[in-house]
């Protein structure tokens, strides 16, 4: 009897000890939810940040941009994550109490399966659009051949593969096609899922990749980071300045730099950087954002959250390239800093700038 109660005590003690220690150290809990695309780097940031500052417990659930925006709007989370910016009407619905802060950059690349072709294929915006509109249906089409001199293209039907799940990747891809082709904009438009004129749907980057790899003549689009890590072959795309650009982390950061004259210290960072004018800019790139409130009711929460966000945008950026994300251009930091300073928590400024946090 005595032994059994001792055992029970022991069990209760084991169960409760993390709770107790949690109460003693982590005074602030921050919950976030949203986009799956930046999940890997967000989790890495959270882990690394926690090793330095253990007074805060951060949680990010990658439930998708749509879910992130919903939960952020319902105030069930402290911050959201999204690949597609909130629409004006969605912002109006929550009284404008939101800031979009870019964290890293992603890009989307065309990937294809043409057995026997070893050269990297080149794509112009209009060829890409017409393939995805179903107007170019064979790889031996003259328009593909004329921009790929020296490549013998097979007489092979083109099998278009797109994402079947709603996705920020699809948003970036269709946002680009909408910018370069009025035809696309009018017939299909941009969105996390669209009404595809042709093609098969694959679930996730891995679904698209598997379908493309299994289908000779297949062409699809996947995230750059995914393509890099899996060493996939992808095409070059001609940008606005007329240069053929290999998708890479550098050319993606260049896309953000090229789009910087659209932004400023008071800017709304909901800027699309597809078809960026920079000379070395890869044209199918995008920010991914965290959603912060302009006013937080709880001072400690607001302060710790902004400290973490600023740390991610400065020190944390070094983690990005290794994980397949392009870091933000350094030139953007002062503007983001200005935006973060405007956040209030419990009625006073939540964050006094980099000096106050100690994170540099």
């Amino acid at each position: 009897m005595f032994r059994r109660s001792l055992l029970a005590l022991g069990i209760i003690g084991t169960l409760a000890s993390p709770l107790v220690s949690g109460l003693l150290t982590a005074q602030v809990r921050l919950n976030g939810a949203g986009a799956t695309f930046p999940n890997i780097i967000y989790q890495t940031w959270i882990l690394t940040y926690n090793q330095k500052f253990d007074n805060v417990e951060i949680n990010y659930q990658s439930i998708g941009s749509g879910g992130g925006i919903r939960q952020f709007s319902d105030k069930t989370v402290d911050f959201g994550g999204t690949d597609a910016p909130m629409t004006d009407s969605a912002i109006a619905a929550i009284g404008g109490n939101v800031l979009h802060i870019p964290t890293v950059l992603g890009a989307v690349v065309p990937t294809y399966n043409l057995p026997g072709i070893t050269q990297q294929l080149r794509f112009t915006p209009d060829v890409l659009t017409d393939i995805f509109l179903g107007k170019i249906t064979n790889w031996s089409d003259g328009r593909i051949a004329s921009i790929n001199p020296g490549v013998t293209l097979p007489k092979q039907d083109i099998i278009v593969v797109h994402r079947s799940d709603g996705s920020g990747t699809t948003f970036v891809w269709t946002d680009y096609l909408s910018k370069v082709s009025p035809d696309w904009l009018q017939k299909v438009g941009r969105g996390v899922s669209v009404n595809w004129p042709v093609g098969l749907g694959g679930r996730g980057n891995e679904g698209v990749t598997a379908t493309v790899r299994q289908s000779p003549g297949g062409i699809g689009y996947v995230e750059l980071g995914y393509a890099l890590i899996n060493k996939m072959s992808f095409g070059l795309v001609r940008n606005k300045s007329g240069n053929w650009i290999t998708p890479s982390l550098e050319s993606v950061t260049a896309a953000a730099q090229g789009a910087m004259d659209q932004m400023g210290p008071t800017t709304d960072f909901r800027v699309s950087i597809t078809d960026s004018p920079g000379a070395q800019a890869y044209p199918i790139a995008s920010f991914t954002w965290v959603l912060l409130r302009k006013e937080y009711p709880d001072y400690a929460k607001g302060r710790e959250l902004l400290k973490f966000v600023w740390w991610s945008l400065t020190e944390g950026q070094a983690k990005a390239p290794g994980l397949g994300y392009a870091p933000l251009p350094k030139e953007m930091r002062p503007w983001i800093e200005a935006r973060l300073r405007s956040v209030t928590a419990g009625g006073r400024p939540a964050w006094q700038g980099p000096a106050a946090t100690g994170a540099q």
């Binding site: 799940d165 709603g166 299994q214």
Partner: protein, 336 residues
């Protein structure tokens, strides 16, 4: 003699009966824990139907904006355009039904064959291992089926199955167009493999429950073993067998992951088995997490509502079917 001496007798009888009853009643009511237990069980039993009603209610309320905006046309229009907010679920409804019935078409002969073999023909040492292996199919996670579909089934279909199929049946509307791999036929086959163990396991139990006397009677009439199965065993258990098939159909209607990985996910209606299609469950799983606008979300809820109602209808039809064929032959029908 006279009836008088006997007259006093009935009252004691009347007395004893109620007293026995009341004793029984007191016996029953004496233990409070019994009553608590009974209420607990009633509560648990009622919780499940209540849960279904709550699910139905939530689906309906969430789907209301879409129902209000698109009306009944939602069911028979086929454009699914989240950008312009035009939604029609016809391709998904068609895809769900077509893939499930295609799966039944393939799975039922297979599963019944396995069940008949295992109960009637196979040597005893073979029965358990085969039954075990067939039922093991049910334990494989559906995402594994999906991967197997992408990497094994589709290449196999492309190189081995489809070319001869096209050569022989190319003139029918069912085998038309370019075969991309991800298609209705791939989805149907995957589903068939997934539902075989359910149908086979239940059918085996049903056939085992057929009394030996039925078989012996048929054999005694001079029937061969196959004739005995066909004329005595199968008719005796048909209610249970239909139940087994319906169980498989229910599973096929709701299957999501494996189907979405091989069916092509295209909002299109085509009678050709070689063309990509879509199912309701797959569309909900694919698009729910990124449904950013309220109307989009509501349209997906309406798809869920339709799937729910469809499943209820299928089950109701199955019940009616079982009741009708079960008259007189009861094996298995009581269990369903």
């Amino acid at each position: 003699m006279t009836t008088l001496p006997f007259e006093p007798v009935p009252p004691p009888q009347e007395q004893t009966t109620p007293s026995a009853e009341s004793r029984w009643r007191t016996l029953r009511s004496i233990d409070r824990s019994d009553r608590i237990y009974q209420r607990l069980l009633t509560g648990i039993a009622l919780a499940l139907p209540a849960l279904i009603l709550v699910i139905l209610g939530v689906l309906f309320v969430s789907a209301l904006p879409a129902i209000g905006r698109y009306g009944p046309a939602f069911i028979w229009t086929s454009t699914w355009d989240p950008v312009k907010e035009i939604y029609g679920a016809a391709p998904m409804i068609f895809g769900t039904l077509a893939s499930s019935f295609l799966a039944l078409l393939i799975a039922v002969p297979l599963a019944l064959g396995v069940a008949i073999l295992l109960t009637e023909f196979a040597p005893r040492w073979l029965r358990q291992p085969v039954a075990f292996l067939v039922e093991l199919l049910a334990a494989i996670p559906s995402v594994v089926y999906g991967l197997w579909g992408i990497f094994v089934l589709i290449p196999f279909l492309r190189s081995v199955v489809v070319p001869p199929l096209k050569a022989v049946f190319g003139w029918t509307p069912f085998i038309q167009g370019v075969f991309y791999g991800n298609s209705m036929i791939a989805g149907g086959i995957i589903l068939a493999i997934m539902i075989v163990p359910y149908i086979a396991a239940v059918s085996r139990e049903v056939l085992l429950a057929v009394p030996v006397s039925q078989r012996e009677a048929a054999l005694a009439m001079g029937a061969t073993r196959w004739e005995a199965v066909r004329s005595a065993v199968l008719p005796y258990g048909r209610a249970g067998l239909i139940g087994a098939i319906i169980l498989g159909l229910g599973r096929a209607l709701g299957e999501t992951m494996a189907v979405t990985m091989v069916i092509g996910n295209r909002h299109d209606i085509s009678v050709s088995l070689l063309q990509p299609a879509y199912t309701m469950a797959a569309a909900i799983a694919n698009e729910f997490s990124e449904a950013t606008t309220n109307m989009y979300l509501s349209a997906l809820f309406e798809v869920g509502l339709i799937l729910f109602v469809l499943t209820v209808i299928v089950n109701a039809v199955a019940r009616i079917l079982i009741w009708r064929v079960a008259r007189g032959t009861a094996v298995g029908s009581r269990a369903l």
